[in-house]
């Protein structure tokens, strides 16, 4: 049975670098997310402490996790585009 993508894909030489970058960013985000879960579970009173602009840690940490997801996504996309351009074009020339 034939497998493979529904649309034909061009060869991509930048897979290894993109995967490595993705893994790094994933582990960074995982560590920050784990920090949230650990504080909420084992040091719950800390979540009520005022940290920034009158907001408590729970609100600041939660909002940061959401905003950070987008920021890290954009960083990932920026470098992936760069790798794809560099490595695939270099190879073509």
């Amino acid at each position: 049975m034939l497998h493979g993508p529904a649309a034909e894909l061009k060869e991509d030489k930048s897979i290894v670098r993109k995967t490595r970058l993705g893994l790094w960013l994933f582990f960074i985000y995982l560590a920050i997310y784990a920090g949230f879960v650990i504080i909420a579970t084992f040091f719950p009173s800390m979540m009520g402490a005022e940290v920034l602009g009158g907001q408590n840690l729970a609100v600041v940490y939660g909002m940061t996790l959401i905003v950070l997801a987008l920021v890290m996504g954009l960083i990932y996309n920026f470098f992936c585009n760069k790798y794809e351009q560099q490595m695939n074009e270099e190879d073509a020339s």
């Binding site: 049975m1 034939l2 497998h3 493979g4 993508p5 529904a6 649309a7 894909l9 061009k10 991509d12 897979i15 290894v16 993109k18 995967t19 993705g22 893994l23 960013l25 994933f26 985000y29 995982l30 997310y33 949230f36 879960v37 909420a40 579970t41 084992f42 719950p44 009173s45 979540m47 009520g48 602009g53 009158g54 907001q55 408590n56 840690l57 729970a58 609100v59 939660g62 909002m63 996790l65 959401i66 905003v67 997801a69 987008l70 890290m72 996504g73 954009l74 990932y76 996309n77 992936c80 585009n81 794809e84």
Partner: protein, 644 residues
Amino acid sequence: MIYEVSTLAIVIFLFFVVTVIGLSLYFGNKTKSASSYYAAGGKIHWAVNGIAFAGDYLSAASFLGICGMIAFYGYDGFVYSIGFLAGWMVALFIVAEPMKRMGKYTFADALDSKFNSRAIKLTAAISTLVVSVFYLIPQMVGAGAIMLPLLGFPHWVGVTLVGAIVIIIVATAGMTSTTYVQFIKGGLLIIFSTVIAFYIFQNGLNLKPTKDYHDFITLNAQVAEGNITAVEDDSYTIESQHNFENVVLVKLSKDGIPTWWKLNIKDDKASLEEALAITITADGAHLYNGEVQAAGRFYQVGHFNKIIIDGKEVESTGPVGAMEFLKLVEDSEIVRFSKKIIFDKNEKITVFYQNITLGKDIMKPGLYYKLDKGATAWSKIDFISLMLALFLGTAALPHILIRYYTVPDQRSARRSTILAIAAIGFFYVLTLFIGTGAMVGGGLDVESSNMSAPLLAKTFGIVLFSIVSALAFATILGTVSGLIVASAGAVAHDLMDNYFKIEMSDHAKVKAGKITSVVVGIIAIILGIIFKDQNVSFLVGLAFAIAASANLPAIIMILFWKKTTAKGISWAIVVGMVSSLGLILLSPTMYEIYGLPAKSAPIPLQNPGIITIPLGFLVLYLVSLFTYVKRSKTDKDTVSVIAE
């Protein structure tokens, strides 16, 4: 009366339905090949796909469930928002591009791309069906639940109507029409959630949330040795008193209508605080605050006890900024409604009494999950387990993964994921404001937490309420369509075509998909009627746990471990699926559903992920290790992306 059938809501709903069906029929004429049916021909623009992701992912559990949970329990509901969004990081950084590279129509294709194993095809297809069906049930139950109060139809009509519309969407043009329905729904959901948030900030904080908000009465009372003996207003008759560990409830009656009150004793002075009550009489009739529902004695609630700005109490604040809103809620005192069930003279009475809660306790975790006061080791493990399943579940949901096959290339897959994160993240930030806004703005129906977002919209006017109600249906339509496409792909493509190797032309494959869609749609309708009384968000959480346990170990290991074998993958899927299902069936919540005491459940865990996800990885590792050694000389197909 909380719910009145709104003509405008019905008109908007019908307009949406006609548009969606028209769109489906239009695309249906163009959908001839299997590729266009299952993967929209791989031609969807990344921006459309990104918003469609949001439309696919933001299900009834997000819009109705999370907003409602925040409205009832504060920050603990927001934890779902955080976990559901964090899951997209796994999807973006690890799963998106390889899925696009390796698959064709379904996630089973991707897992099987290097092996051509019948075991993988079978197990991945079954797991797709199990996860999708678990995800379908709460959507259909949600459809029925909101149909009754909003449009006045009974539960089964709501379920059947949603089922029928979705069958038309999916059976005509498959993934193409599904994508556009999800795109429209995702866009509208974000726009109108923003509008609701704007109203919240514009109205500011008010002790009386709306003009016609109910004035809660407090009566002075006399007490002797803890028992109530007299009430200041002698038109009331004392009927009975019910003492609980943390609250004393009193039944009075006036003009023959029973009412329920909470007894407060402070500095030797006793008073009675008005409560809400739903009574189920011996003959099965439901009474709302002592009368039939049509009498209109039940009302929306949710208000401040005190609004405090810089240490001073105020009646209202005027317009506020977003972060200022959260800060003011944190500094103030809110009246929540706690529930007690009383059996009295062959009647079952659910009393919702006022429970003054400090804003600082509402704006941090702990009101729903036992993490601080009264926490046990199991309650903490349960919380970690939930957060783990939310984080790892997203990237393992088949109906989300199939979206990667609708775009032309990896770059589009990546870009659409980032747009999805932006849209979904923005929506999840809004859930905190909408939920808290409903909690303090009279947006609660104490009977159903799922209705908080539409009821908050109702306090801002009937037009917004009608739009938001119609949107709630659209939310369900979009997600159910995606789930049915995923199920149809699993049956027609993975099972019929690939596993049983039934010879089919391209045209026949499309036909098989359409027939499957109709069958799965009918099954969804039946399940939606059977599971009528189940809790919506509980079931969605379970779908995440099953997806994370059954699918994620296979997806991750095939990408990053060279020695992964076909047997390892299929065994991991089977063990992950069976163990997570098994633990769910033995959980305290399920024991309550069986009518057994929750404490008698063998494992006091509601969320199985913390045991079953590592188990899935372990099984894959051990089975692969065993089968790889035996086959290593001939099997050159086990690969990893890194090795490429």
